[in-house]
Amino acid sequence: MSLTLLQPATSTSPPSAISLSRAGTNFIKSQSTYTLPWPLSLLANESQEKWQIYENVFLACLRTGDHQSASRCLEKLVDRFGKSNERVIALRGLFQEATAADDAALGEVLKQYDQFIVDDPTVFPIRKRRAALLRSMGKLNEAVVALTELVDVSPTDAESWAELADCYLTKGSFEQAVFCLEEVLLVTPNAWNMHARLGEVLFLRANDAEGAEKAQGLAEAMRRFCRSVELCDDYLRGYYGLKLSTNRLIPLLSIPNSKSGKSTDTASALPSQATVQKLNQLATLKLGDILRRSKGDQKTWDGYSEAELIAAKELLDRDSDDVAR
């Protein structure tokens, strides 16, 4: 049980967040309030996991709307680490955001954040919260401004770059999103999900383009997906993207293109049709494999998200329909 308590609550699915918040409230009740008298209490060690659990339970409770338990967790954290701890400040801000009744209350929280940042511009948790709050309030442009300031000061922060990329993507600015994702990759070179994400953005960008540029963009996206699945054997999103991009690329390559011969740069040279065909087959094979195994509820194959599995099935079905026709 303590293992699930230790997993960060943000990455869990809704049902597991609910179970986590339930387990968490029990956990907090189980924590004894009794402490040894003063000189002996100094000798008592606290486990490092304890506060991680408190934080996770706090986040899970906020997600499930259990504000009472959340506030109790927060109190404990404040008691332990003090009010001025950066992390605690950010968590309290999160609590205030979650319990804010309307936009006016949210505006209050935002003002509070602004004040904090003016007082001490190095409090990164608060700066991140501010950007996230701006975004969730629908002020996308302001969020982008906040995030660009953030990455200017801290250009090695992959989290901020990724968030900024997401904002740009929402706005439809593909070039900027690509740039941000490349920055993420420079910090975390082997993050296969980021390679796939970059592939997705490149794919979207290529769909807007025309002619030779489109094929070029699709090929680049396809290579990103290739890299992603090269790093992670069973990455569903990677194979999905690979399948989708090769599907679109094949008809483009079959048109004899006089221009494609001119580029000698290996990075931008278009792949041969046979290669793309083979990659498409590989992706089909792997997607089928993943679907089959996850449907069979094999022990280590149950980590895939339900939605992604359905989407993959859809894609495969559509493909086989085309073949049947």
Partner: protein
């Protein structure tokens, strides 16, 4: 020395209760006190200003770019490199752009630096004061007692260590004086502190001193001119020969999935071969031996021809022989050896006898061997009771 006779000293049991135990307990308690004292005295490291942070992280970003440039395409890399180099030249990333090119201020005048030094001093005080106090206390009250006997024998070199404060020459090394017990506990209580305080405690001053000695040089001379660091990083970026991890990724991916089945196949084959080769351990490298022998023979033939030509020329020009004749004779013997080795390795070659062989039995044997060889090479003729193993052996 007393020799085999063991020294017997009758100690007052009160020594145990009033000296050994108190020293031990006091030492443990001092360690705990020291731990909490240093926890209280350590000042939280002062927060860096936003400009300084930006400077550091910009540099880190450039280093990341240098290390992970393969993740992005050439155009993206060039754009980033350009941006960094230009920015570094203009001093865009510096915390204090106005201070460029000025001499570095003396670290002693820097208030932030002073604070760090104060922190270190405090730590040292927390170490030194209890230590010297206890040392004085032990010396004043307990010096000169022999308080315990180690359960194992030791060499006399330990006398200095174990019998400090007891000026008896002939005392067995196993006896430990009170002052020595103090030192032993001083150095040896770390596991006890680990047990009581957790593993990252500050109770043992020895460890702290070591940690300080390690980073000793850093706080004083560490700060370099950031402008120069940026310029150097820019140069590092300039010399990078870019390649991209996406080059040929499709082939790699396909090769891996093809390779998987191939690798499995090769594994099975290797297993089968290993089983097959078990009964004949001499077979290793048999493929290479024959070409090797051929090369060797060719080299000998070549050398011999060269030397013969040279001798002929020398003879024509009337110069003296320089031992080439002897060498040529050696070479012909060697050639025969090589030839026979080849014949031994491969059936396509014949054994040869040399002209200098006077033994007729040997000549006959070799001819017989060659004959056997031909039968073996043409299996339909093979009807005799020939034994390959015998003919093959030397």
């Amino acid at each position: 020395m007393a020799g085999p006779v063991e020294q017997q000293i009758h100690r007052d049991p009160a020594l145990f209760y009033w000296i050994l135990l108190p020293i031990t307990i006091v030492m443990i308690l001092t360690g705990i006190l020291r731990h909490y004292l240093s926890t209280l005295l350590t000042t939280t490291p002062k927060k860096q200003t936003i400009g300084k942070l930006r400077e550091q992280r910009s540099l880190l970003r450039a280093q990341n770019l240098r290390q992970n440039y393969a993740q992005i395409s050439l155009q993206s890399f060039l754009a980033r490199k350009e941006a960094f180099v230009v920015g570094a030249k203009e001093g865009k990333f510096l915390a204090d752009p106005d201070a460029r090119g000025k001499a570095r201020p003396n670290p002693m005048t820097d208030p932030a630096m002073m604070e760090g030094m104060m922190g270190m001093m405090k730590g040292n005080v927390a170490m030194m004061v209890p230590q010297s106090l206890i040392m004085g206390w032990i010396n004043a009250f307990f010096s000169g007692y022999v308080i315990m006997k180690l359960p194992f024998p030791l060499t006399p070199q330990f006398k200095q260590m174990l019998q400090a404060g007891v000026g008896t020459r002939d005392l067995d090394v196993r006896w430990v004086s009170s002052l020595s017990w103090y030192f032993l506990t001083l150095f040896g209580l770390q596991p006890v502190y680990n047990f009581i305080l957790g593993s990252n405690n500050a109770a043992n001053q020895m460890q702290q001193q070591m940690a300080q000695a390690q980073m000793g040089a850093n706080p004083m001379g560490g700060a370099e001119d950031p402008d120069k660091i940026f310029a150097a990083e820019g140069e590092n970026l300039e010399v990078i020969d870019h390649w991209c991890v996406l080059d040929g990724v499709e082939e790699r991916l396909l090769a891996r999935y093809e390779g998987l089945s191939k690798a499995r196949h090769a594994e099975l084959q290797a297993e089968a071969e290993a089983n097959h080769a078990e009964d004949n351990t001499d077979r290793w490298g048999a493929d290479e031996e024959l070409p090797h022998a051929e090369n060797y023979r060719d080299a000998i033939v070549q050398e011999r021809e060269d030397r013969e030509a040279y001798t002929a020329r020398c003879y024509d020009e009337g110069e003296g022989d320089e031992g080439h004749e002897d060498r040529i004779e050696q070479l012909s013997a060697k050639k025969q050896l090589a030839n026979n080795q080849m014949a031994h390795l491969g059936v396509d070659y014949e054994y040869t006898g040399s002209m200098s062989d006077v033994d007729p039995g040997l000549q006959k044997e070799l001819q017989q061997e060659n004959k056997d060889r031909h039968w073996y090479a043409a299996p339909e003729d093979k009807g005799s009771d020939m034994d390959l193993e015998d003919s093959d052996g030397d």
